[in-house]
């Protein structure tokens, strides 16, 4: 219903536009007061300017398409670059001075601008790639609502905008801090407790596997990839290939800042341990995720931590 009620274009005058309106009224009044034909001519030209402004701005917005490229991993309180692709589907008309505003829905359910990017000129049947910096404030689901594309072309008198619906969801991992991993830590660790586990760092090559989302390009095995015409990465394993289990207490805890701090700590440890090449698992009072290594495990564990909530039983 809201979508149907939304006007196809929104027009808001700039300061110069308001001045122009005032001039039109002034000249119109003078023409009416004096009956001077030349004043009527000037008034006609000013009205023609208005019409022309509307037509040209519409030509800039008419056949525009926008796509969003969300990064694979979004961390709370960390900058990420969201890519925007702007397509001009018109065959002859150039689109000028487009401002694309990406909008997301916040916790209260209202739309807010996530970021904005600008394209000065998009050739006919061409496209431009832009990006904006996004810094999520908290972990969890991030819902993108759509885009608002606006332009002040041609005269800067009005800002005409057009809304595009482009719903998309992204998962924001908890904020991750640098965690110093001691060389001798235990095999299991509860947040805030002593770490016990295998020693050593993951420097031994344990084989190759197919590239997975989140793998660092540094580990791509180029020779194997060229042979198989697909990306393969080297798997490394610790000299001791130990397993670490990070525990997060969830039972009987309120959803307060303390819980958020523990989630953040767990995520930081998971991140750091996996970076070390360890097999890392996660255990909460409700679930237990088996230990594993690599980018896929990182996405699994951090994804779980992004959504985890206190167990109130």
């Amino acid at each position: 219903m809201r979508r149907w009620l939304r006007p196809p274009r929104r027009l808001s005058p700039t300061r110069a536009g308001w001045c122009f309106f005032a001039l039109i009224f002034g000249v119109g009044f003078a023409a009416l007061n004096t009956g001077n034909n030349l004043l009527y001519l000037v008034l006609s030209l000013m009205l023609a300017f208005l019409v022309l402004s509307g037509v040209l701005s519409e030509s800039a917005l008419r056949a525009i398409e926008v796509r969003r490229r969300v990064p694979r991993e979004l961390y709370a309180e960390r900058d990420a670059w969201v890519g925007i692709e702007i397509y001009n589907r018109q065959r002859r008309v150039v689109a000028y001075a487009l401002v694309v505003e990406d909008r997301w829905i916040d916790v209260e359910g209202s739309e807010r601008a996530a970021g904005r990017c600008f394209a000065l000129r998009i050739a006919p049947e061409g496209h431009e790639q832009r990006s904006y910096k996004l810094r999520p404030e908290r972990r969890g689901e991030l819902a993108f609502a759509g885009f608002v594309v606006s332009t002040r072309f041609p005269f800067g008198l009005f800002s005409k905008s057009r809304a595009f619906e482009a719903p998309e969801h992204a998962l924001v991992y908890p904020a991750v801090d640098a965690v110093p991993i001691p060389r001798n830590f235990g095999g299991a660790r509860e947040s805030g407790e002593t770490v016990r586990g295998p020693r050593g760092a993951g420097s031994e090559v344990g084989g190759v596997r197919e590239f997975a989302r989140g793998d660092t390009p540094r580990r791509i095995a180029w020779r194997a990839s060229l042979r198989s015409r697909s990306l393969w990465v080297r798997e490394t394993e610790s000299e001791h290939q130990g397993e670490v289990e990070v525990r997060l207490r969830t039972a009987g805890r309120p959803a307060d800042s303390g819980f958020e701090r523990d989630v953040r700590g767990s995520a930081s440890e998971v991140f750091a341990l996996l970076e070390r090449g360890l097999r890392v698992g996660l255990r909460t009072d409700r679930e237990s995720l088996a230990p594993d290594a690599g980018a896929r495990q990182r996405a699994r564990l951090l994804g779980y931590l992004a959504r985890v909530a206190p167990d109130l039983r």
Partner: protein
Amino acid sequence: MSRRGFRVAVGEPRPTSAWLLVFVATATLAITGQLEPWALAATGAAFAISLWRRTGAFAWQTNPWLLNALMMGITTGTTWVALQGQPSTVALAHFAATTQGLQLIDARPRKTEFLLVALALFQVVLAANLTDSVFFTPLLVAFVFAAVWTLVVHTLRSEALEAGQAREIPRAFTPGLARTAFAASAVAVLLAMLLFVALPRLQASVVRGPLIGGALAASGFSDRVELGALGRIRSDPSVVMRVETLEGRPPGSAAAYWRGLAFDTFDGRTWSITPPERTLVPGSAEGGVGLGLDPDRYDLVQRIVREPVEAGVLFRIGDPRGIQGTIRRLERDASGGLYAASQADERIRYTVRSLRAQPDDDDLRDDRALPPRRGGERLLARAPLSPAVGRARGADRRGREERRRARARDRALPDEERPLHRHAARSAEGRQLAARGLPVPRARRSLRVLRVGDGGARARGRPARTARERLRGRAHQRDRQLRRGRAEGRARVGRDPLRARGLGALRPDARRSARPRRTAALVHGADRRLRERARAVVVPARRRLRPLRPDRRAQARLARVVRAQLRDGCAGSRGARAHLALRARPARVG
């Protein structure tokens, strides 16, 4: 982040089109001929300096103190022009032109170019009010092209700077953008023409005054002159023509009248030429064409170079007998005016042979010649008056009648307090009038007049008893006159004794009460009904000279009417009651 205003100050040089824009706008003002030389010089200097130092401005061009001092100088100059007695629009023209120059000089980073465009637009608007020049429209079209390009360039530039993409700016300014701007300007001009035709022409003349002014009209030559549209007339100093006398004696300064336009019809607002159509003069004016019945009789040959004038008129002295010049199509109107059709905006050089010997006033007075067969009735006809004049005359006539009635009532009342021998003298005069067969206004009094006059006297604050007694005396005198003869009495009573005096007093006093017109109409209707009823009752009674039985239905109807009048308060209550009593007892008259 709001985008509702220009936030980024642009420090780069203005686009060259900005200078074109300013040039065109200043040119529109310059062709009016109203700018003082100092204003033109100041604007020209600012234009030249700013264009010269477009990319590397002087340091003083960014000094706000100096720029503000210059602005104060401009304000002082504008005030001085206004104090010289120039119209406010002319003073504003000076302000706009010089401020525009200052705006160009100002090399500080600016948030918008719209101020430049708005000032230019203001100049154009002022010029539209100050000129009738044929060059205005082409300049306006040039202004549109320059304004479109300037605004487009500035908008793209400021948008890119605001987004932090200054490096992309050159990429946007392609020949395609220029083509787009050019096409957009052309479309704007076409659209403006359509709107210009479609816009309803109203003239409210809401705001007028010596400073604000209505339209500031210029003296000049156009096809019609609308008097109602003029506020103040300024003189147009542009040269209209240059004259060189080739043959004959040049006219003296007192007799140097070149005739062009001669308006012959005024419709209450506009002077125009009727019939408006012109006839083509046969022959080629470029080779020379004779005019009039005797083209070879002339006493003056002049070569005239006429500048562009709106009506395309050709000026000459006296009666034209021949013309030769760069005239493609020579036309003549009903008043004998000569025109070079479709060459209003061209300079025309022509040689005209004229006969200066014009009939003087005595000759014209003695001239009994008949008007020409074709179109002669137009010369004899009186100019038709506008409906407004007719309405005004009607209102004036009605006003006079009202005044006459009021004056008669005035005369009537003071008479009541004068000695009776005056009335006797009047009666003698009345008798004289009657003897001459003229109406006798003063003799038409009766008891009805007495009764109603009583109310009238009371309404005027006079002692009612005195008035009643004296009126009664006159009424008795009148009754005696009535009894002298049936025919005479019938004629007088049947004429309008009640209309002249009796019921007239029932009407609201125009000088004392501002009754609504509707009430007056109601009272007038009641008055008429009363009068008809009185005739129906009284005249037969007098004819028979015997008592009549009262007409009960008439009494009741009259009583209703008078009660209604009493409710409306249109007459004194006692007077009205007396009137009612009178109507109820018609038998007493006889």
